[in-house]
Assembly symmetry: C2
Homo-oligomer: 398 residues x 2
């Protein structure tokens, strides 16, 4: 929770909502808030102003951009009939891709990450990949994958849920445009610190936005705030130009305000070096965490699944463990708050174990916090504290 958030939200509630009432759509700038937040967010992921839309959930935004990507390929007569994704991708991405594939007459094909280069053949119309994997923390080389996909005429949709605000991302502007991405989505409640269920975002490359406007290509969720003139109340949908047509209904001003506080907190680090400085700290935190776990917690069956090289990982580290759930409960009770993620089974290209995931949020974690966390983990494992029945498995959420 950024320090600024509580006060700013309280002011929005008490003054802008409670006193300004509907006047605040104009007077407090509510109607333009999403645009401002979107542009500020865009600056953190290498997206030019006017190419990001903020609002709705990641799932809803993915439905929009995947639908448009499939439509573009259909119009271009791309021979591919496949949406390609990772078998162990975050499930909502796969579920939405399943639906878009069905509605677009395509097939969803799932492979393991190491199969990606070989799987990128001419059958693939669209690749949907998560930049930093939610379980392993593995980060993929975005530009190289874009280039390989584009060689087949394939479009690439990136999910930046675990990237935005954690690692530098350059969605577009590469020296060679073939290295640029095509579409992206991401969420506001991980490293952007927008709060529980914060609004998500959608991005499209300027070259696609130009074409989408020119050829009147529409995303299916044609809500009124994506209309060219929402307040003209025209009976027929006439989409706004560019990224604005990816907007749908009225956004929650409270949720947008909290997200904006998270993003502004990140931007205030810009004079101190921006995402590059944040990334440097993220790397040393994560490296320290992995080194200390190896040195201090050996012999207890922890199996690191996060890549060893900094260039191959995001800002988290994960370990498989046969009793990962109980260990995480014991850690959380001691103030080391990570996630447990159930095993996916071999059918998902995953080991059968559950994993312990620890995020190294560089904005507010210190290296000394990492030391303390690892000592707590060592204590939980060494003393068998996790065997306490009260850490037994219940239904785990988030």
């Amino acid at each position: 929770l950024p320090k600024a958030t509580a006060a700013r939200l309280a002011s929005v509630v008490q003054h802008e909502w409670g006193e300004g009432l509907i006047r605040s759509w104009n007077d407090a700038g509510w109607i333009g808030l999403a645009r401002g937040v979107a542009d500020r967010l865009g600056s953190l992921v290498g997206a030019p102003a006017g190419t990001v839309a903020v609002g709705d959930s990641t799932s809803v935004n993915l439905f929009k951009v995947l639908s448009v990507a499939a439509d573009l390929q259909r119009r271009d007569g791309h021979r591919g009939s496949v949406i390609l994704s990772e078998r162990s991708n975050f499930p909502t991405d796969l579920y939405i891709a399943e639906s878009v594939a069905q509605h677009s007459g395509l097939t969803l094909r799932l492979v393991d990450h190491h199969e990606l280069p070989a799987a990128l053949d001419g059958d693939v119309a669209v690749v949907l990949w998560t930049h930093v994997h939610y379980r392993s923390g593995r980060m993929l080389p975005m530009a190289a994958i874009n280039r390989a996909a584009h060689a087949q005429g394939t479009l690439v949709v990136w999910d930046l849920a675990h990237s935005a605000g954690a690692v530098p991302v350059t969605l577009c502007g590469a020296a060679d445009p073939v290295d640029d991405a095509d579409f992206a989505v991401g969420c506001g409640y991980k490293y952007l610190n927008g709060g529980p269920g914060a609004p998500a975002f959608a991005w499209a490359h300027p070259r696609h936005l130009d074409r989408i406007t020119r050829e009147d290509i529409r995303q299916p969720l044609s809500g009124w705030l994506g209309h060219a003139a929402p307040f003209a109340f025209e009976p027929t949908y006439r989409p706004a130009e560019g990224i604005e047509r990816f907007t749908c209904g009225t956004p929650s001003i409270l949720a947008l305000t909290a997200l904006d506080c998270g993003i502004q907190t990140l931007l205030e680090a810009t004079p101190l070096g921006g995402m590059a400085a944040i990334r440097r700290k993220s790397e040393t935190l994560t490296q320290l965490l992995m080194d200390l776990v190896a040195a201090r917690c050996g012999g207890w069956g922890l199996q690191r699944i996060t890549p060893a090289e900094a260039k191959d990982r995001g800002s988290q580290a994960s370990w498989a463990h046969p009793h990962g759930y109980e260990v995480m409960q014991a850690l959380i009770e001691r103030g080391v708050i990570g996630d447990f993620r159930a095993g996916l089974g071999r059918a998902s290209g995953d080991d059968a174990l559950g994993i312990l995931r620890l995020g190294c949020a560089p904005l507010y974690l210190r290296h000394t916090d990492i030391w303390d966390a690892v000592e707590t983990l060592r204590e939980v494992l060494d003393t068998g504290l996790w065997r306490d029945p009260r850490y037994g498995r219940r239904s785990a959420v988030t």
Copy 2:
């Protein structure tokens, strides 16, 4: 703004988010919040527990239920190829219907409200109608329209944006089930007092929910929280039973909390007579407003467009006026905060004038407020205050 909202939101931010962190998904009940809010909301619109889903925007929810309604009709071999709606319906409903029609192979047909009975022929697969019209405040006889539609095998989707929390609604449970509605959506930021851009809701009749579960009928926005086991992280979408499959991504906990405060404030009126008592006050407020405007503001070209009979209107009253925009600006500056809505033109079955809309929110407006508002309107008209250049037209929002 309900008095409870600021304190509860501050507590959620400071304690549940700031101290509880992700533990609050379990410990503070975030994961079950949407279900609780949905059931409480359902009790205000005559919907049984477990039949309402809360989250996303009205537009997104309409996309879900219209898609399912069209799918049901296709499965049943209904011969209709038309989605029927009102020409002057709130535009986002028409824009979404346009998209669903296109994706479902149907045609969107628009008529005026007085043409509705005759237009309900066997060509109509789905009727999409707003119960209380956003401009005129006209309220339609829901049960009679359901009955007429069902006689043709037509399904009815209701938009309750201006009904929920303002007028009694009985979506289901009629003595004769043929009078029940089929689907509904609505927003949380009008009479539910959920705040700017509050989450919206979707409802489906239990008979459809049973069938949807039994026949594995899916809505297109297959996000993870609509999965039967969201935290099992299965690679394939397997929808939850009943209304839960209309849930998509992770909801904003801040926005849901504020909506819950609004709904709970309404529910606290239940021991005092519930929606029936709220409706009685709404009727006398609206009647007083219309009577006083007729008595005190004659001769200035105000043309009432809200039906005279209480049974035919919701909780608002509207007048067309050639200088409606300027008049409303002058009113707002004097603390009488209503809406201006631009004219739709004759092509929309509307007069060419803009309208002044005044909502009579029965929970917090008093009869003396109506007197004061009308005296202010009289003063603005009598003295020509609205001619001041600073009230001249800019782009008007919401």
